[in-house]
């Protein structure tokens, strides 16, 4: 999850945030890390770029991007298997 936090910080250019500042279960949006809808689009690009995962439908976004832990779980479940 530390790697994922680093990737989120880099993708969203969260200059003053360190990986340890983001709690595993802390909400990413609004009252948590304060992300917004543009950030959600950036996170979708991050999933595709780094993990080759395409969100099947936009409705999933709300639950997938709830926290770093929910994102990590989604990545673990959906990452393409390498042979």
């Amino acid at each position: 999850m530390a790697d994922l936090k680093r990737q989120i910080i880099e993708q969203l250019n969260l200059k003053d945030v360190k990986p340890e500042d983001i709690g595993d279960d802390q909400p990413l949006f609004v009252e948590g890390l304060g992300l917004d809808s543009i950030d959600a689009l950036e996170l979708i690009v991050l999933l595709q770029q780094e993990y080759k995962i395409k969100l099947a439908n936009a409705e999933e976004g709300q639950s997938v991007f709830r926290s770093v832990r929910t994102m990590a779980q989604y990545i673990t479940e959906h990452q393409p298997k390498t042979i």
């Binding site: 250019n13 969260l14 200059k15 003053d16 543009i38 689009l41 950036e42 690009v45 595709q48 770029q49």
Partner: protein
């Protein structure tokens, strides 16, 4: 039209610094003196902003602060190049990622109206918001829109700005077009060493315009006029004389002329002809050795004129009396010509 405040980010630190110690540049570009944006813009917003957006938003905020306004009736910007850095980033990613997985932020922020939009977001201002992209008339178009809306009593206050940036890529492309000097030049000597091309410039200048006087205005914008591709130097002279006539003025009534020489021998021939044919002995100064050449450079000239009229001080001159009436004449590549008339308040 009253100008309650004029603020900006330019290659010069401040008007006071221009009077005492203007910033000189060696090379073929003048770059903006940028403040610590973290002190001026919400860090949550700043993380997505490219340089031109930060310059524009910071200049607009400072202008509003000086005017004592919270939310203007309109936010109107003019830019020829728009948000180049974000456009370059987006195009580079398109090539790099084979037109897939494009970062949305650079795309969203690459549009020309981003500066005006970000100012509105910051102020939570849902009023009229428009951006003009019209090469060397971009800033003038923004001003004319504000003036028209004010005259038609649609609005009574407007925040108007001109913004343009140079990036390494845009500078290289425009250099290939022959706009800038190949040899290194000292900006202070730019106008004394005429040659082919000029020095590139950039800036973000904002103005608080209002319909009625506040009692604390910096200057009054009496008139503005633009003309496109005049046939020859005689036509330029005619346009200027006709502009003065429509304001019931003669050259002798102008206390100071601010002109847009940029050191390019072909373009400066117009100014030289006007010096002998129109201005005569009227006190005159130039401004592009201070800000460089760019399509919205008249924003810097207007900012300079406003400060001259407000303080009574003229860079490089020691006038016996405070200038009361200033005329600005500029052309961009001998295509877009503009004239401004301002008076002291």
């Amino acid at each position: 039209m009253y100008i309650q405040a004029a603020a900006g980010i330019s290659p010069q630190r401040s008007f006071e610094a221009i009077l005492t110690q203007p910033q000189n540049y060696n090379g073929n570009r003048l770059s903006c003196q940028e403040p610590d944006y973290a002190q001026l813009i919400d860090p949550r917003m700043i993380r997505r902003m490219s340089r031109i957006i930060k310059m524009g938003v910071a200049a607009a905020k400072e202008c509003l602060r000086e005017a004592g306004w919270e939310v203007p009736d309109a936010i109107i910007t003019g830019t020829a190049y728009g948000c180049l850095a974000d456009t370059e980033l987006f195009l580079a990613k398109m090539i790099e990622n084979k037109e897939e997985l494009l970062t949305p932020t650079a795309f969203i922020q690459s549009t020309h109206n981003t500066v005006g939009a970000q100012i509105a977001l910051l102020l939570k201002c849902h009023n009229y918001n428009n951006t003009f992209v019209h090469r060397g008339f971009s800033f003038e178009s923004a001003l004319l829109d504000a003036i028209t809306l004010i005259k038609e009593e649609e609005i009574s206050t407007a925040l108007v700005g001109g913004v343009d940036e140079i990036t390494p890529v845009s500078h290289a492309i425009l250099s290939r077009f022959g706009l800038y000097r190949k040899e290194h030049t000292d900006s202070a000597a730019l106008l004394n060493t005429p040659g082919k091309g000029t020095m590139a410039g950039e800036g973000a200048l904002f103005f608080a315009l209002s319909a009625s006087p506040s009692g604390n205005d910096c200057a009054k914008l009496d008139d503005i006029y633009t003309f496109y591709k005049p046939a020859d130097r005689g036509a330029v002279k005619e346009q200027i004389l006709s502009f003065l006539q429509r304001n019931r003025l003669a050259v002798k009534d102008i206390d100071l002329v601010i002109t847009g020489e940029n050191g390019d021998v072909a373009g400066d021939a117009v100014y030289t002809a006007l010096k002998t044919g129109v201005w005569g002995n009227a006190p005159a100064i130039s401004f592009k050795q201070l800000c460089g050449e760019y399509p919205t450079a008249t924003g810097f000239a207007l900012w300079l004129a406003v400060h001259i009229l407000h303080t009574g001080k003229v860079p490089g001159l020691s006038p016996a009396t405070k200038p009361r009436r200033v005329l600005i004449y500029n052309h961009y590549q001998h295509i877009h010509h503009s004239i401004y008339l301002l008076t002291a308040c």
